[in-house]
Amino acid sequence: VDNANTNRRGLAAAPLVLPTWRLVLLLFAAGHLFRYAIYAATFRDLSVGAYVDAICVWDCPSYLDVARDGYDLAPTHSEFAGRANWAFFPLYPILLWTFTTATGATFQVAGYVISNTLTLIAAFAARPLFERAPGAYWLYLVMLFLGPFAVLVATVHTESVFVLFTILGLVALQRGHYVWAGGWSALLSATRPTGVLFTFAIVTQVIVDHLRSGQHLLALPKAVLGNPRLLLGLLLAPLGLFLYMAYLRWHVGDGLSFARVQIAWGRELGNPLLYLIRGLFPPAPLSLVNAIGLAWAVGGLIGLLLCVVLLVQRQYAAAVFCTLALLVSMSAGLTSVLRFSAGLAPLGIALAIMLCRWKPLAVLCAALLVAATIPVTMGWFRMSWFLM
């Protein structure tokens, strides 16, 4: 039993008879069955193929499109003027294409397999992040596999990849492996626009480690330059984004087209806090559109509050990364912020650790989260705008 000595407190202490990996697999399988049951009950349909189709909503078709046909040369989207698929970062489509080419599977099935496999790996990889609160690990796994936003990491979206590389990056930082952290960050930066912000998490950890070692802040530049591994890690961190920008410069003629194309979705850069306040205080009476905006704003607010929790837990690197990721996302409006918050792994980890301080509360929250999964997953299948 590999965790017999590690789980002395919290949720996991009592029920751990099975080895950890079996319990992880059990929760993973339970999550699949749960979502499938929700699908079957919602649509009165037992077809697995239809289930895989139904789970592919919102950004899913765009990632499939990039994997199948590559990037547009110019906006050619039939629906909206100016829309092109440059906003969808390349790492996930590359994985889709590779898997499909190797196995002959459809892109949709490939995406389903990739997302779920990477999420499972993320679950195992996250274990070292719970060294100080091992019981919270199980609550985090419940959230990851059975929670209301578990559907996000199970579908053809980048959340599974993002969660995995974030966790691997944080584990690398925890162990002082800056080159590895830079490598995972490079992959993050090729996954989503906010991935490059993990570079700041590395910088934060470098500063924290530097100060903890008793050195003066002014000595930091010299220490960085004198440490080739650290220097390499920092320069590696944004490499995925730079490679994508170089490709876009060659393919489209503009390396920033991934950012500029946002205007075709009506997204304009603005003050994220103003967007948040407007979303939180919509004019009365509450229309459906404003209710959706309110839900997104609440998701963003909870995300920011969990960033404060990360700070309190002294997870400075994760706090900086999540705060910046949320603020950058919200600077283009509140659309999808609920989803972005749910896809930031450190926030879920912080929540699990916080809740596990009080065992009954943790059990109650786990039950509530699983209960909330039913309406949220149904909403996902029905393409509810609240979950966009």
Binding site: P228, V252, G253, D254, G255, R260, V261, G266, N290
Partner: protein, 215 residues
């Protein structure tokens, strides 16, 4: 920070790798500052002097018929026939009509089969107005020549007519006549403090009918 202990060769290799990556990233930054793009791309994405990225649509050719620009819920807006004329500056047809978005928009008509007639375009439309933003001015032009100037408010008739002379119809390049609208008073729901939507709206089309005027 724990001092890094590395073999001399490994240090050199790490510095070399870091240097190469740094140089590459610097090169990309330089390339970013000099985009090599078309004039249309520059106007739309970089200078932001237009909100119109023109779609190469076929153009409406059902002259004399009323085209519904409101679609039933569940209908795919871009399989809706009315979308064949939406060149740019319009949201997808919806249950409330086809909304303009931004300060300009264009509709396309396939005039390849018609020659020599003046045409009237009958628009049933509603302006996006409120108590604090009571009017919407709309100008329409073909090939740079203004053909209509409207000022709409909440009491305006829903039915408006735009007259297009035969010479403009006949001169349409490739038999594609683009009717451009300018909306100087377009305003967003966000500015009107209605919701967080920052898209600038001016009018919504309900129906549309283009027909030749009998001589």
């Amino acid at each position: 920070m724990v001092p890094d202990v590395m073999a001399h060769g490994a240090r050199i290799a790490a510095y070399a790798a870091a240097g190469l990556i740094g140089l590459f990233e610097l090169g990309v930054l330089v390339a970013l500052a000099n985009p090599d793009v078309s004039a249309d791309y520059r106007r739309f994405f970089i200078d932001r002097t237009t909100n119109c990225w023109t779609r190469d649509v076929a153009g409406e050719r059902r002259f004399g018929q009323t085209i519904d620009m409101v679609i039933a819920e569940g209908t795919d807006p871009y399989r809706h026939a009315g979308s064949l004329m939406l060149v740019c500056g319009w949201l997808s047809p919806s249950g409330t009509g086809t909304w303009s978005i931004g300060p300009e928009a264009a509709l396309r008509f396939d005039t390849s089969a018609i020659k020599g007639d003046d045409h009237d375009l009958h628009l049933e439309l509603l302006p996006y107005v409120s108590d604090t933003h009571p009017t919407q001015r709309v100008t329409a032009s073909v090939a740079g020549e203004e053909v209509a100037a409207l000022t709409l408010d909440k009491n305006s008739l829903r039915q408006q007519t735009i007259h297009i002379p035969a010479r403009l119809v006949d001169a349409a390049p490739g038999g594609k006549l683009d009717l451009w609208f300018a909306f100087p008073d377009a305003i967003s729901p966000q500015t009107l403090k209605i919701n967080d939507d920052n898209r600038k709206l001016a009018i919504r089309l309900i129906t549309l009918r283009a027909e030749a005027i009998a001589k």
